[in-house]
Amino acid sequence: MSIIAYLRSENEKLPKELFYEYEYRIMVGISTCSLTKRAEEIKKIIEKDLIDKKMDAKLAIVGCNGMCYSEVLVEVARINGPNILYTNINPENAHLILDHFINYISNNQSLFQSKIQIKELKDEPFYALQERRILEYVGRIDPYSLNEYLMIGGYEGLKKALSMSPEGVINEVLSSGLRGRGGAGFPTGKKWKFAYESKSDQKYAICNADEGDPGAFMNRLTAEGSPFMIIEGLTIMGYAIGANKGYIFVRAEKPLMAERLETAITLAKKKGFLGENIMNSNFSFDIEVILSAGAFVCGEETAMIAAIEGKRAMPRPRPPYPASKGLWNKPTCINNVETLAHVSLILKNGSNWFSQVGSEKSKGTKVFCLTGSIAKSGAVEVPLGTTIRKLIFDIGGGSSNGSIIKAVQIGGPSGGCIPSKYFDYELDYESLQSLGAIMGSGGLVVLTESNCMVDVAKYFLTFTSAESCGKCTPCRIGLTKMLNKLIEITNGKGRIEDIDYLINISRVIIDSSLCALGQTAPNPILTTIKYFKEEYLEHIIEKKCRAKVCTSLLKYEIDQEKCKKCMVCVKNCPNKAIEIEEGEIIFINQDKCIKCGTCRIVCPFNAIKVS
């Protein structure tokens, strides 16, 4: 893939301070996604190139700006000059960047026409159609530098908060209409108010950075790119509810996020943004990072509290809610990374600014992660109320391989599958609930005709039944029962009455489970049955999987016309199921075939038919 270089427009110029005393600023995106594409190596190549060219430049490590589909990203800016974002960089073409930029300045770019395509960033819908607020500087500032965060107006939110009373801060958040960005969408201000009104000598503020939803990575992306914004938000929360101790609960699978948050805490302490008498006020606050040992159920507040207390992460019945009895039985308030990032900006820019965008009941912006069979996979920030169609077609560029998109799965294992006929629905908390899904953390997985809906339902149940903590019976046993049924169906052993069985058992689990894990786990099954019942019926009655995913229902055969008798399949078949008849015809012995699909992958002539 050739390099696409995006020229940023005038109004996206970096603040002058970010250049320090240098002429150029070079930003290399290093985040979990770009590390898969050897971003570290690229940084070294550019570092060396800078020395060779004796360029007067500041080289900064930055996070990912969300364009994960075109990693690795490198941005070059000249003070008072152009600012270009280079995409699809690899160690082989990294040496071209600085040459191109220098030649671009001197209007001599014809040299690179075959290798580098230049476009305007405002013409790229993936970027231009976003409303980037919390992501504005993610991918442009150094997550290891408190100074750079201050240069873009960081900590102005906390400064304002400290000049107000705690009630004033809570009212500001209340009137913004901000709702929790991690699940059911509970109003953040209300949550804070409950914790504030609980009388206690000790309270706790917790940031949920556990992000257990498979398919969602906005919290990782935000915290890796702008960790101080999260710390500022948590500090504001601490001030508002009257806590002087905070915890950030980070998932062990996301070590880079934990490292950047920890470094940020250390730096903030040094500069007086954490610790005693923050910014010369009477408020003292300290934050500790807790590395989660890994359990999806930790997304449930009371389970997370148990984990921080050093116990097995099992939820307990509510009430009492954490706002009155939380961590060590003290009033506790928990918000996730994205929510706290918004808090920093609400205090900085005011609640009116925040609620300018969004739908009637869901204000502000939300980061969605586009994954699955989508052309441009990554993270985008758009106002709540944006339609699914706009997200996946206008911004995401439609399906990745030209096949028809039949549904999106939203909200992870607690969410549901929304069929294409509802793609004009506006995405907000209420509309999603009316369709049987939930916002969750905002992971949007695009499903095409090559994805089997029964298999998707089975996948999520495999996940939730394994992640069930085992405390309450409906979730522990109910989910296993449902999973077994789905395994039977995908193996061609389903019965027609299984569908009603799945619906009934789902209702029991929803009504009687202790926590949200069980209460929402049937959503993927109920929505796939509701919207894609014909696929279930095909599996059960016709023993057929139209997407050719459920391998037990497939039959592999050799197309004798296409077969050139090269024997590659015979050699590669792990079960010796491909046999030769009279030295002439090659065929697959259906009794021996284990349906692994190896022959189809290795056949150079496309002669393996699947039906």
Binding site: T32, A293, E309, G310, G372, G378, Y459, F460
Partner: protein, 181 residues
């Protein structure tokens, strides 16, 4: 004696008959004891920190032998059953010795849809691991299925030690693992 049985999994019978190897095992054993006490020294007795203590021990030892769990429980002031309960509840903890390299297969939604299963199977075949064991016989690899690294745009993801690979295809697996001896 620290997890003798587990140690046997690492060394073959021939090796056990060999005197030098026996001495080596003794050294490993002493080394384990020393590492456990050194790690726990850094902690103050605090029942709420049992998870952190177990994490620290696993970082040093690679897994949690019985001895480590018992010592951690004693040091942090929790019943052994509590420490064992924690160690078996969370995905991060491993109770068996690990190979020289640890391989993590992402089984998140995006990776599942993009063929995580076939990558996993190709790896099992290439590294000669049976489906029900998670360490290869030669002690080269220990495999784990994990839920989502959050690099979904690069699905499917495989992580070996600290190296992370994206958009992996089954045919690439042999080439990737040849880097790890």
């Amino acid at each position: 004696m620290v997890g003798n049985l587990e140690k046997k999994m690492l060394f073959s019978k021939e090796a056990l008959n060999n005197k030098e190897k026996l001495l080596e095992i003794e050294e490993v054993e002493l080394d384990f004891q020393r590492k456990i006490s050194e790690t726990l020294e850094k902690f103050e007795s605090d029942p709420s920190k049992i998870i952190l203590a177990l994490q620290a021990l696993q970082n040093v030892l690679g897994y949690l032998p019985k001895e480590a769990i018992i010592k951690a429980a004693e040091k942090m002031g929790v019943p052994i059953s509590h420490a064992y309960g924690v160690a078996t509840f969370y995905h991060q903890f491993r109770l068996k010795p690990i190979g020289r390299h640890t391989v993590y297969f992402c089984f998140g939604t995006a990776c599942h849809l993009k063929g995580a299963e076939s990558i996993y199977n190709a790896f099992l075949k290439a590294a000669n691991i049976n489906n029900d064991e998670n360490t290869s016989k030669d002690g080269r690899f220990t495999i784990h299925k994990v839920r989502c690294f959050g690099a979904c745009s690069m699905a499917p993801i495989v992580k070996i030690d600290n190296d992370i690979y994206g958009k992996v295809t089954p045919s690439e697996i042999r080439k990737i693992i040849s880097k790890y001896k």
